[in-house]
Symmetry: D2
């Protein structure tokens, strides 16, 4: 019998895309995300922003899991400034928009916005630093820095 429905193999998780150097990543809101106030719990937006950053690295060919497992290092968040303008609710479909703002030897600052359609819900600047497994600051792999700089310079991303 020919399969009348798409194969499960065709299913893949939410994945973002670079559009003219800016990363777009979709998120849907489930019960786990909300609180008794009826809206998304404020700390959870940091989770969506981290998902978007991880997806961005993955699209750029950077393997965070391998970097941890080989002892190379891992990114740690060092600073967040976040403004909450309007709340997300159960079943909302959101887009996290991420722009690389500043790249130094050891840190990257990313500007991130959570949008529901044209409505800006939350806006943040997030700085991450590369650290050793023991937690000491460390220069990022040079190849990664080159990739980040080419994005901030507006070069096209192959993905």
């Amino acid at each position: 019998m020919s399969a009348p429905f798409p194969s499960a193999n065709a299913l893949s998780p939410s994945s973002g895309r670079f559009i003219e150097g800016v990363h777009h990543f979709p998120v849907r809101i489930y019960f786990e995300d909300t609180d008794a106030g009826g809206i998304v719990y404020h700390a959870n937006y940091l989770r969506y922003m981290e998902r978007a950053r991880s997806d961005m690295l993955r699209l750029l060919g950077i393997d965070q899991r391998a970097s941890i497992e080989t002892g190379e290092g891992v990114y740690a968040v060092t600073r967040v400034e976040i403004e909450y303008r309007a709340p997300a609710k159960l079943d909302d479909d959101l887009i996290v928009v991420s722009r690389m703002e500043r790249v130094s030897g050891a840190t990257v600052t990313i500007a991130q916005q959570v949008m529901r359609g044209e409505v800006l819900l939350t806006e943040a600047a997030v700085t991450v630093a590369f650290i050793t497994p023991e937690g000491r600051p460390k220069r990022q792999p040079r190849a990664w820095v080159e990739i980040y700089k080419s994005i901030t310079n507006g070069e096209p991303v192959l993905s």
Copy 2:
């Protein structure tokens, strides 16, 4: 200039599909999902299973948020039996496979499996009951029960 990249409008969050009456839902593992043991924290599989059940209802045209907001009622989990066979790790792509097993007036039992490719990671039977906003058991909307029964009878799902 014509847009060389897909529009952000084309982006949508992870969504599942019914394949011959069985619901398949993709999940990717992020840092938030893991713990210091290096694997996914055990309680989080219940979150993935709830996401899959919510997606299943959404595909069936059932609007949980409206049901809460109008005071109609909400599903509450009443029983879970879950076996953990193998751990998921950072960056894994998983599929949650869900089958409606039993439908009564007030409850539904769903068999759910979390798979990584062909490998079964976690297996559960989850029973949910419909309750009023005050927490009292209540019969599910008749139309919903009809939909569930048609699925358990193997009738095709329009989605």
Copy 3:
């Protein structure tokens, strides 16, 4: 029979204290708090800070649950600036130190620090606004504002 062990009734959850107008709240780190990097997931510090603010209100005699249930209103976080200086790890005992910084008609800004002994791990300024159940800004109950102002003025807290 004489009870050889303390009664379960004597057990109570973590609770904070005001010490000279500054609120101190203890937190222990469990597996759920950590991630595959071996340290506490960055978004979770916002949870500890919210626990501390809720405990502070409770000690001041303010009942957030009643305020939601009667439709009076609820606090929503509108802005966070947070710096991560050193990571917390599994089994750590932390103290969240909270100071009321600014009180206006509709908002309160609280300075919060997460300490492990004498070591400052994380430092934040958190602004919350009072909103209606529909999400519109609203003046805080006058009695609450009086309480907050007496604390920021250094008056002793009865707790």
Copy 4:
């Protein structure tokens, strides 16, 4: 100047106690624990039960963090059966009651109940297995098994 308030050093996080071989652990419910249904999100009870088990090990002198850091091994949950009887809500004070039920070379089964006063909210049987850092099953340290057996035999716990 004599300190009019208790020292911050006197503050410590929630900690449980053994009462006649049964472990009791207090939990308070915060916004992070609830969902848009107005009650505690079902997966979170597994977090409270894990906190209680970790506290139980700590009281017994077992150091899970050292066991991970030295590569000795870590407990992984292999099976949970849980029934939800009544919901917890914001600000509730709960007690997690834990009894060691069965101890084998590689696994332990613990019966756990979440109580609000005299009301049973949730009841579970949780089985954990000791595994290597690579995820392979491994016998538990012999000294730990001896401790567990003495508890299940009703011997007094020094804590």
